[in-house]
Amino acid sequence: MRKLIIYILFFICLFSCEEETDWNLASIVIPRLVVDGMITNQRGRQEVTLTLPVKNINDIPVPVSGAFVAITDQEKVYFLTEIIEKPGTYVTADTVQGVVGKIYTLYIRIAEFEFVANSYMVPVEPLKNPFIVPCDKQENFYHLIPESEGDPFMMFIFINWINTPFCKDDHSCHERINHYHLNSIDVNEFFKPDKEIICFPSGSQIIRRKFSLNPDHQRFIRSMLMETEWRGGIFDVQRGNILSNMSPGAIGYFAASTVVTDTLYIE
């Protein structure tokens, strides 16, 4: 359907349309705590990162150190400690594992301020085989078309080709793709703008982590996509702040998800 738009714009614009522009935002310092946390059913270190918003686009986020962070499941309390090498990142012990049926509460205290969020996990469906298709004009390079059916989920796809002869620079030979499948129907999703296609060479390693989404988490993801991947098409909707399950004063999301993971190698 986007071809319709492309054709119409081609027809009417005489090759005009989108260009880079300078835009002076009326940015201000917004006193909010940004929380990015998750507990999964995979036994290991569960992670929460705390940062502050930035004034300008592409500014480096400022981590929030020295916070007291804990996750409870109404029976046990898991304390998180800050990783010295990664300020603002707090982790549990590596034996923590979430389960379906429990409600998890994230508790954060910074100075006299306290923030909480609740979440619960639902089962995730097994991974399905992805489509791997050749990239245009790039011999031996491919891109991945993730699955898009079944229950709502999000998938983090880590691609690494450092150990292939195609890698010229270690820093540019690994990518991360976030992929989402929701059961909502939105016009701006249907007519979303083109997304950068990540091409990787044969021999690449692909790690897929598929997370379940409970209904509230799904609403959060939908809200986030409205302002990111789905923003910039021709049927944009009113802008708005992204949902959060954090108590007032904090933004972001604390999620509880079940996860399935696999690793693929591109031959």
Partner: protein
């Protein structure tokens, strides 16, 4: 009873009755004293002492004339000279004495050259109409060449300094005392017609006006527009001549009714590429667009790049920005009343054009000469042909419009009109899974109208119309899988115009409507599917009754007051959701077919006043209350037509109301044809709709829970200079306006500017006839940028860069401006019936890039294409981009007419 009427002079051939002329036009003139040489003004200011006691007017005037040196002139047939006059004054001005005489005799006067012309005072004239000797002059006003009825043509009686204008069906009626009158009939673009009639009984006079020829010299021909200028209290109204529309610069040469509204102060188009517009701070769904009475819900083609109306098929475009007549309701902010051609009653004619976008052809002809005719016009795009060759996946890509009209005059009292309109867009392409996907929307309208003249003073029009708008998004055309929303109505209405006397016309009527709405559901194999939630259809009944009186109270004061009662009922079959205080759904109710379960009613009064300060200046003021029960539910910020969903007022959506007051001044620069007007207004609107952040609008049975309700208000100053005639014509306008909204649940409850809050707006549209074969036109539009929401900061989450907003509509697009020019050449030197033209136009002459979107989430790829980032492993280097629609766009088109 009409045989005693004699038409004395006109452009037509008449047989004058000399005796009548002599009798009626007898003027008695005193020339006392001889050698009169002083100016009237100096005589009037001279002081005298004057005494008369109980003597007849005729003798009093004679005596006064001797004393004052004034000469008097009056029509003895019209002024009663048997009134007794008594005056006893010392050392007062002649003028004061004259005023006393006139007051006692019920006269007015005016000085013309060296004479005092005495006339019966207006109040006396009106009184005389109550008594014996009333006659009614009525009929239809038509184009002499085609037989098309002329809407808004002026009939002016100079003796009474009053008149009337023809209504939407060309009918006029005026009731007068038995007398002889000089009657002027005028209409812009037509030769003025003068007739002298001796009206001793009611008379039906159909009038045919001939079009004025193209002027080679700058000779100003100003139609006598004093009726519409002086008599009408109508405010906030503008009429666009479709002929001028054809000559205005247009995108790809396609003259566009809706796009042309942008140059009118107080009307703002959404953005480039849109047919959505906002009027005086009202939202986009608050404009009622009527095509021969039937509402058109989405007048757009190619997502909104063009409007659906074929300019060649349009006869009249009347725009009300406020002060909407009581005969119309159902929208808060404006009325765009479009009337189509009836069809040539005299001979076959046709027109057509070929442009870069579409081809048009229109034909019209009498079925039986002077009795009935038809009009048929069609437009078909040719963009599909281009796109199919650009990409073999494209299966269909087109839009079309068909306008047709049939009219039949049974007799002098009965005439019927049948109008049909259909327009549609379709795009389809083959998808990867061998299915075809596509979008399709269509508007249909069918109108049957019956004009009936009950008497020379009572005219009626009864209309039965149906219109619909249907939108489908196909996921598989082969399997008939699609999302569909629609709205349709069926209405019966009757309007009555009772021309009581020249000073009073009463309009009344009623309307009964049914509205059916499908807010959007998904169909698989053409069957409603249970795989996705069902959104209940809505059925509604609407009744409306109105009365409005147009009253010329004095020569200078006109008042129009009316009231409309509308009753809205929600009926089954429907499922209504009940929400708690947090707007979460808690229950639902099922209502069987036909059961009325909720209703609204609104009394919406309106009043407007016009006070004429002098023959060229009038002050106007109006108050209008309006109500609306149908709402476009759409949180899109795109200028393009998106998946439209309409919902009615009901248990969860309150009715909307608006109150608007306006005041203005209108000034006609004498003998130039230039009309200057200025208006200020304040409008307050209740129960306006906004949405929660990222509301779920499609396939959501709980969509009403996503809506928030609040108030809006707007105010502004509009200035307009119009020149409708002459070689140079057009208009210039400026508007300062503000539009605010305030919702308890939006923007922390604080007021915020509406998207269409664009404080400064300036425009001009000029057409210049270089010679009889070439004309040029120019259109420039400037407006402050629309209010938009931009981030106040950003934060990062799982690799995404997310915006953080602190205030709604805290920023603005850059100021908008655009210049368009066009030239039109008539290709044949000596046209008779056949004329053909070549049009050249350049849209956006200086290539202004007016953005319609600003985004902060794109990266630029190696191929210089802007995309959302795919790799979220590290922070992407996001850039800010703007999207604009039009660059410099030249175009050429060919147009022909066979008259």
């Amino acid at each position: 009873m009409e045989k005693d009427v004699t038409e004395l002079s006109s452009h037509k051939i008449f047989v004058p009755n000399i005796k009548s002329i002599a009798c009626i036009v007898l003027l008695i003139v005193w020339l006392i004293p001889e050698g009169f040489s002083q100016e009237v003004d100096s005589l009037l200011n001279r002081k005298i002492s004057f005494t008369i006691k109980n003597i007849l007017l005729e003798e009093a005037l004679h005596t006064f004339s001797e004393k004052s040196g004034l000469r008097f002139s009056y029509n003895a047939k019209r002024i009663s000279t048997d009134t007794n006059i008594s005056i006893d004054v010392e050392n007062v001005t002649v003028k004061e004495v004259l005023d006393m005489i006139c007051t006692q005799a019920g006269l007015t006067y005016e000085s013309v050259e060296k004479q005092i012309i005495l006339k019966k005072a207006k109040s006396e004239l009106i009184k005389s109409q109550i008594g014996v000797g009333k006659v009614t002059l009525s009929g239809f006003i038509r184009d002499a060449d085609t037989g098309e009825i002329l809407i808004g043509a002026a009939v002016y009686l100079s003796e009474l300094e009053t008149g009337t204008i023809s209504n939407a069906y060309g009918f006029y009626s005026i009731t007068l005392p038995q007398d002889s009158y000089n009657i002027k009939i005028s209409y812009i673009g037509y030769n003025e017609l003068n007739r002298t009639l001796n009206l001793s009984s009611s008379y039906k006079m159909d009038i045919q006006l001939s079009k004025s020829e193209i002027l080679m010299e700058e000779i100003i021909v100003i139609p006598d527009d004093r009726i519409s200028f002086v008599g009408a209290s109508q405010m906030s109204n503008m009429d666009i001549n479709p002929g001028d529309l054809m000559q205005m610069p247009a995108f790809l040469g396609e003259g566009d009714v809706i796009k042309s509204l942008q140059s009118i102060p107080g009307i703002q188009l959404f953005a480039d590429g849109s047919t959505m517009f906002f009027v005086r701070g009202g939202d986009r769904d608050q404009n009622l667009i009527l095509l021969d009475e039937a509402p058109i819900y989405n007048p757009s083609h190619l997502l909104g790049l063009f409007s659906t109306f074929i300019p060649d098929a349009v006869k009249d475009i009347n725009i009300y920005k406020g002060d909407i007549p009581a005969s119309y309701g159902s929208r808060l902010s404006s009325l765009i009343d479009i009337k189509t051609n009836d069809g040539n009653l005299n001979r076959f004619s046709m027109n057509g054009s070929i442009g870069m976008l579409s081809t048009k052809l229109g034909i019209e002809a009498p079925i039986v000469r002077e009795k009935g005719s038809f009009f048929l016009s069609g437009r078909m795009s040719q963009v599909g042909w281009v796109f199919k060759r650009l990409n073999d996946r494209v299966e269909d890509f087109y839009f079309y419009d068909v306008n047709s009209k049939l009219n039949w005059k049974f007799n002098d009292r009965n005439r019927i009109f049948l109008t049909f309109y259909s327009g549609a867009d379709l795009y389809s392409e083959k998808s990867d899974n061998l299915n075809s996907t596509g979008i399709n929307w269509k508007n249909n309208a069918l109108t049957f109208r019956w004009n009936h003249v009950f008497s020379k003073k009572l005219f009626s029009n009864t209309t039965l119309y149906a219109s619909s708008y249907d939108y489908a998004l196909y996921t598989s055309i082969e399997n008939s899988n699609f999302w569909n929303s629609s709205i349709a109505n069926l209405t019966l209405k009757s309007d009555f115009s009772w021309f009581i006397n020249p000073a009073m016309t009463l309009y009344s009527g009623f309307a009964f409507s049914g509205h059916n709405i499908n807010p959007g559901n998904f169909f698989i194999n053409n069957q409603l599917t249970s795989a996705v939630p069902y959104v209940s259809k809505k059925h509604n009944r609407e009744s409306a009754f109105y009365a409005e009186n147009d009253h010329q109270i004095t020569k200078k004061l006109n008042i129009r007051y009316g009231i409309r009662l509308s009753i809205w009922e929600n009926t089954g079959e429907a499922i209504e959701i009940e929400y708690n205080q947090d707007l979460n759904p808690v229950d639902s109710s099922y209502y069987p077919p036909g059961k009325a379960y909720h209703s609204f009613s609104n009394l919406t009064p309106r009043i407007s006043l016009s006070y004429q300060i002098n023959p060229n200046t009038a002050l106007k003021a109006s108050y209008t209350r309006t109500a609306q029960y149908l709402h476009l539910i759409n949180n899109s910020i795109s200028p393009f037509t998106t998946l439209d969903v309409w919902l009615p007022s009901g248990p969860n959506i309150p009715d909307q109301t608006a109150n608007q007051i306006a005041s203005g001044i209108i000034y006609q620069i004498e003998k130039t044809g230039i009309l200057l007007s200025s208006e200020i207004y304040y409008k307050k609107m209740k129960n306006q709709i906004d949405y929660i952040d990222h509301a779920e609008m499609l396939l959501n049975p709980f969509v009403e829970g996503e809506l928030r309700f609040g108030n809006a208000w707007s105010y502004g100053l509009e200035v307009l200079a119009e020149k409708k005639t002459g070689r140079l014509r057009g208009w210039m306008g400026y508007a300062y306006s503000r539009a605010w909204r305030q919702f308890p649940d939006t923007n922390n409850g604080l007021k915020y500017p509406a998207f269409y809050d664009r404080p400064n707006e300036f425009s001009f549209m000029l057409i210049y006839d270089i010679n009889s074969r070439v004309n040029t036109s120019m259109n420039w539009y400037y407006a402050s940028g629309s209010a938009i929401t931009t981030p106040s900061g950003f934060y990062y989450f799982q690799g995404h860069t997310l915006p953080l907003f602190t205030e709604k509509n805290n920023d603005r697009f850059p100021n908008y401006h655009r210049l368009d020019v066009s030239f039109r050449f008539r290709l044949n030197k000596n046209p008779h019936r056949f004329q053909h033209y070549l049009g050249l136009s350049i849209y956006n002459l200086y290539g202004r890039k007016n953005p319609v979107f600003i985004n902060f989430n794109k990266i630029e790829t190696e191929t210089n294409v802007f995309k959302t980032p795919g790799d979220l492993g590290s922070l992407p280097n996001l850039i800010t981009t703007q999207t604009f629609i039009y660059n410099v766009i030249p175009s050429i088109n060919y147009h022909f007419q066979l008259k």
